[in-house]
């Protein structure tokens, strides 16, 4: 089974988000970058499937030259090949343009399964996987918290919980599935894995070489950090002595009668 996994390099966000002077990006001077969490799970899922069925795991990222770091992290987790669709420094690529560029990579291989995160943790567009599937003419299931591939590798069942109900999508391969954190617990890279990742070649393709960029994406003008609610917490007391006051608040809020 040959699997393509699409991953995104995103800022590591810690205590608070601060923006660059032009308010068009997150200031990352004091933080690092990581793989968007849902996508790290997508890589783990792909590696497990390849361990079971044989085949290969190719990771692709659309991002700046530095996204090579995240691709090597995927290689350390067990991916076998990496492709970087390189964008200009500081440029944001919208969901339609991203899907088109990923499509050129996906269509160039014969992948049985294409995995993505359900949404990127930074931009949260919720659409690249679905747009990619339509460009490929393949079925797509999203938000998967479990993937069961049939014994002969010809179909899969992707399931998720929604409003207390389990929804299962049964799709023939080849298909596209977007996954969410919780589908698995990604492994720590092994030492041999890290050494292999260091030596591996990352194929680079300039974004412009992937074909025409579709126009029409939503255009970001600026970012802003929402005002934190200026609440002054009312301290009800210390320890169990605060319980009567706590009960009174629960009654006041209508939680208990």
């Amino acid at each position: 089974m040959d699997i393509l996994v699409c991953v995104k390099r995103v800022p590591t966000v810690g205590g608070a988000i601060t923006l660059t002077a032009d308010s068009r990006a997150i200031d990352t001077k004091a933080s690092g970058f990581t793989i968007s969490p849902h996508e790290e799970c997508a890589v783990e899922e792909a590696v497990r499937l390849a361990e079971r069925f044989g085949g290969s795991v190719t990771v692709v990222s659309l991002g700046p030259a530095e996204a090579e770091e995240q691709l090597r992290a995927c290689l350390a987790l067990g991916a076998s090949a990496a492709v970087l669709v390189e964008t200009a420094p500081g440029a944001e690529t919208g969901p339609m343009a991203t899907a088109a560029a990923l499509h050129s990579v996906a269509a160039a291989g014969a992948f049985d399964l294409i995995l993505l995160g359900n949404e990127a943790s930074d931009t949260g567009g919720y659409q690249v996987g679905i747009r990619l599937a339509h460009l490929l003419g393949r079925p797509v299931a999203t938000g998967a918290k479990a993937i069961e591939v049939s014994g002969d590798g010809s179909s899969l069942a992707a399931s998720r919980a929604y409003r207390g109900v389990t929804e299962t999508f049964s799709l023939p391969l080849p298909c596209v599935v977007t996954v969410k954190e919780g589908i698995n617990l990604p492994r720590y890279p092994s030492l041999p894995g890290r050494l292999r990742a260091k030596r591996a070649a990352v194929k680079r393709i300039p974004l412009a070489a992937t074909g025409p960029v579709p126009a029409g994406d939503v255009r970001m003008t600026r970012l802003r950090v929402p005002d934190a609610p200026r609440k002054q917490a009312t301290v009800l007391g210390q320890g169990a002595a605060a319980v009567p006051a706590l009960v009174a608040v629960l009654a006041e809020l209508g939680v208990i009668s």
Binding site: T166, V218, G239
Partner: protein, 350 residues
């Protein structure tokens, strides 16, 4: 102008998240002035009395698609929008029988919109609609307004980082595809009196490939109240200390008619399953009360609980972010406070 409002049902009623979407849809209509309307699109049996109460008199009831099939739903919405709304040159098919007046004439087309809840279903259906029509789609909007008088473009504000960051953006397209954040826009309130409702029957025209992407539903086994819609959530974090420590939180949650939610550390430690996680990569909650016990409050966690109407925090560290951002705080050890609170509540019940 027609603002198509995709209605999600929760049982037989309009889902809370869809009522939040209705607020934004109504705002678009008010912005545009006369000759505009919100038209509800319901797959299945429309909750007519509910829709009348919320003042939505135009209802399109779609038959021919069983259950949840996102690509088929999107195909129907694309038909309702009409060919004028399509960005693809190939879409020159005849206008759908259900297309609203003016949808196909191209003059007013920039003002049409499809608005859905920013739920897994809403985001999924509108992404399919974007892919089918070639239109851009903006997920999890918190506000939208016309860029200027007579302008086709919309100025919008949408959530990034699950709401930790806001993006101001311009959407310039033949029709605006928008989903609405489930935790940042107030739910629409019923009008002063019910309006008369006209139900238009729509028969879905979809392909086999559209129907192939379809959910088979089985009861989740969780039963009872779901985390996303619970009115009371008792949260537990690192301070709970162990898997066994959650028993007292679950007892308290049951007494309050609520459910337990957890922070990310709890699921990485394996104390509770990921399905109980509140936060950016877990579930977003919108309860009346979030009782956060032993949770320090990483910003990714706030992304999941910012929609709570009231927060009470219990923590040994009075300076933890969760304690300073809560409405009420109790300083102390949850292992002492929670059993005492449970006893006090049981005492009241007698």
């Amino acid at each position: 102008m027609t603002v198509w409002w995709l209605v999600e049902l929760d049982g037989d009623a309009v889902a809370d998240a869809s009522l939040r979407a209705l607020t934004l849809a109504s705002g678009l209509v008010a912005d545009a002035g006369g000759g505009t309307r919100v038209a509800a699109v319901v797959f299945g049996v429309p909750p007519v009395a509910d829709l009348a109460a919320y003042g939505v008199g135009d209802v399109y009831a779609v038959s021919g698609v069983d259950g949840y099939a996102p690509q088929a739903w999107a195909r129907v919405l694309a038909e309702l929008l009409g060919p004028a709304a399509s960005n693809t040159a190939a879409s020159n098919t005849a206008a759908s029988h259900a297309a609203p007046d003016g949808a196909a004439d191209g003059r007013d087309r920039s003002r049409h919109a499809v608005v859905a809840a920013g739920t897994e279903h809403g985001n999924e259906v509108l992404a399919h609609l974007g892919a089918i029509t070639g239109l851009p789609m903006a997920a999890n909007c918190v506000s939208v307004s016309a860029s200027g008088p007579g302008a086709g473009a919309l100025d919008l504000v949408r959530q990034r980082w699950a709401g930790l960051l806001l993006e101001e953006a311009v959407l310039d397209a033949p029709a605006a595809l928008l989903t609405v954040a489930t935790d940042a826009v107030a739910a629409a309130a019923p009008g002063p009196a019910p309006v008369p409702v006209t139900v238009h029957q729509v028969t879905a025209v979809v392909t086999g490939a559209d129907l192939a992407v379809r959910a088979v539903e089985t009861s989740g086994g969780t039963g009872g109240v779901s985390l996303a819609t619970a009115r009371v959530v008792v949260g537990g974090g690192r301070g709970v200390g162990s898997a066994a420590g959650f028993v007292s939180l679950e007892e308290l949650a049951a007494l309050l008619g609520g459910v337990v939610g957890v922070s990310r550390v709890v699921t990485s430690e394996g104390w509770r399953p990921h399905s109980m996680q509140v936060g950016q990569t877990g579930t977003k909650i919108t309860p009346d009360l979030y009782l956060a016990c032993g949770i320090s409050g990483a910003i990714q966690h706030f992304a999941g609980c910012a929609g709570a109407r009231h927060i009470i925090a219990i923590n040994t560290d009075a300076s933890a972010p969760m304690m300073t951002r809560a409405d009420y705080a109790v300083v102390g050890d949850l292992h002492e406070i929670i059993p005492a609170l449970t006893d006090a509540l049981r005492g009241r019940g007698r």
